[in-house]
Symmetry: C2
Subunit: 375 residues, 2 copies
């Protein structure tokens, strides 16, 4: 048996070596595609082309008896690597005539990421860090675009110091709230204004498939190139009003972060042994623990700022808390019929999305479990 197994394993080793060589070849070829795209200013991520390519690979796989989902997952994973490496070849500059871009807060993580991407695209980038305000006039002199990316509680004050920009300068911010900064920018500057919210952290490997929300401020025709530049970097752009944005973020950010925070507090007070909890976990609970735990490896002040950035957020959190209390009444009365009725109403509200989410999460939970024993 040992001989038989070791012979088979040698063959598997040989197959895997060929697979590594093929991957190296594929990454090199896609890098060449990236260079051609970059020269001609094509977006690094083309959803339709990607979907068509994957569909034909699935067909080929099925013909060879390879599960189509397997090849799709492998290619998606491989493409991510390619997207990440496109940063290396740089991006086409869509507005080569633009005067310098000043990133206010360019020494923060998100500021650094955007500074890098603008530089890779051939723009002249200047940084105005918190220690540089004595030289602010000099740094801002002749700016073509100013991007504000400072902690939320400082944003308004920083924007108010930008009253002397050239009339045609674009003023933008990356804050995770939009109504107030947009209002402040419109008040302080008479030229083009746009509010931006990148829906990702600074630790992403590329902008491919990441979302940047934008809220029009003034003279949108002056910053269309910027939105196209984001798409060349691979991002999806999403236009919403500042009010819709801030409403959405009460759920997407404030309630989410706060619930994770409270769950962390709750766990620390209940004080279960984490090792044992993990050993007993289902894949979905393990995922939940990871999503809560990751919060506490990050900056608490940042999350406090985001959650407390508007009374709307606090009102949303209080409504959730109230509904939580009402639902507890169902449990205390052992009201299984009431529970089922509420459950069914929510099922109806989700409509087709419930089934879609079940399918989507199944793949993800399996991927999470694949990696469970990773060292």
């Amino acid at each position: 048996m040992v001989a038989e197994l070791s012979q088979l394993r040698d063959k598997i080793d040989a197959v895997d070596k060929q697979m590594v060589a093929l991957l190296a070849e594929r990454l090199a070829l896609v890098a060449q595609v990236g260079e051609v795209k970059s020269q001609h200013g094509l977006p690094i991520y083309a959803p339709d082309r990607e979907a068509a390519m994957l569909a034909s690979r699935r067909d080929e796989a099925a013909q060879q008896g390879v599960p189509p989902d397997l090849i799709e997952d492998i290619l998606r994973r491989t493409m991510r690597e390619s997207y990440a490496s496109e940063n290396d070849s740089g991006f086409k500059c869509l507005n080569p005539e633009l005067r310098p871009i000043v990133i206010v807060g360019g020494k923060g993580q998100l500021g650094k990421l955007f500074a890098k991407l603008f530089t890779l695209s051939g723009y002249d980038v200047r940084i105005l860090g918190s220690q540089d305000w004595d030289r602010a006039d000099e740094i801002l002199d002749g700016a073509g675009m100013v991007v504000v990316t400072v902690p939320i509680h400082l944003t308004d004050g920083v924007i108010r110091r930008l009253g002397n920009l050239p009339a045609d300068c674009i003023l933008a911010d990356l804050t995770s709230i939009k109504s107030e900064p947009l209002q402040a920018m419109l008040e302080v500057h008479q030229g083009p204004v746009v509010g931006l919210h990148p829906m990702f952290g600074p630790d992403i490997s590329s902008l491919a498939k990441q979302v940047i929300i934008y809220c029009d401020g003034r003279n949108p025709e002056s910053y269309q190139w910027l939105l196209e530049q984001f798409q060349i970097w691979g991002a999806s752009i999403e236009r919403v009003s500042a009010i819709e944005h801030d409403q959405g973020m009460t759920l997407i950010q404030a309630l989410r972060h706060f619930t994770s925070f409270v769950y962390g507090v709750h766990l620390a007070e209940e004080d279960p042994r984490l090792e044992q909890l993990l050993a007993m976990s289902s894949p979905i609970y393990r995922l939940e623990l990871a999503m809560v735990g990751r919060l506490f490896a990050q900056d608490g002040s940042l999350y406090g700022d985001i959650i407390m950035s508007s009374p709307q957020n606090i009102a949303m959190i209080k409504r959730f808390h109230q509904r939580f209390g009402q639902a507890i009444a169902l449990l205390e009365n052992q009201d299984k019929a009431g529970f089922k009725q509420a459950f069914d109403q929510v099922e109806t509200w989700f409509g087709d999305f419930a089934g879609r989410f079940l399918k989507e999460s199944q793949g993800l939970l399996r991927q999470a479990n694949d990696a469970t024993h990773r060292g």
Copy 2:
């Protein structure tokens, strides 16, 4: 440019075709390994062998300029497919002398899964469905093992009907609570007893890397073969006391399910446009929406049963609700220092796990985002 791109794309197509062929070859080789393992009764999942194999593949990849994480992710994904297909070749039977296995509730989803796995392992499996109680004596006659897998609220009653089993018959259950069923089984049957809780749903593709919790009841030496059989199927087994189990499940199941339920109720009442919410989402919020939404594609009564199965669950949920309310006070007082202090305490409680979870979740969130535009 078009000619240049289409030439490169042809080359990529050719590479991908070779990749599909290699995958077909690899799956076939691993299937042969599976057959050898099955003949000799080796577990389909061998953590040490897998870790060693992955480590050497990572080295080889690095030497060829291929990111090690890429080959590791691809191989993990491919191995999952292999684990799933090992079901086809059957499993070694570790207790060929065992008299018939009766699965009480064997027409439910989980019952069907275990019936299938026992049958694939060469056991004689009989089903006692809810309609079969008039023939129960006949079906249970001479049973070597009886496995109870019925809805929680019926479990106790069903166990109480099993008072006439052969003295050496193993009595087991798969209920998601353990203290009460274990107690009932010990009272009703004088032979070997074991409580089991499979920490996965019936939709898994294989038991590889899935957890089965077991709580010793009586005569553990009689059911060691069963625990080994689970491992041959690929599962990790985890021994805990019934009390520890039920305590863990107040967090792992009751609070988790209930929070998702309330979040669904909250969303339905807030009534945001789901399409727009998804378009604006960060990868982590999209994941959260999917994890909540998936609940409502499933059976509401089942979740109600699990949550209301013990007063401990309700007490845990109430403590969480109370802490949630206390934390809201921080927000209402704009107490950023208090928030930061609580945050830091939780960070300390998580210890090394916070960073570990951050790293683990990063990979998962990237995988989630890879698939974002999947049709």
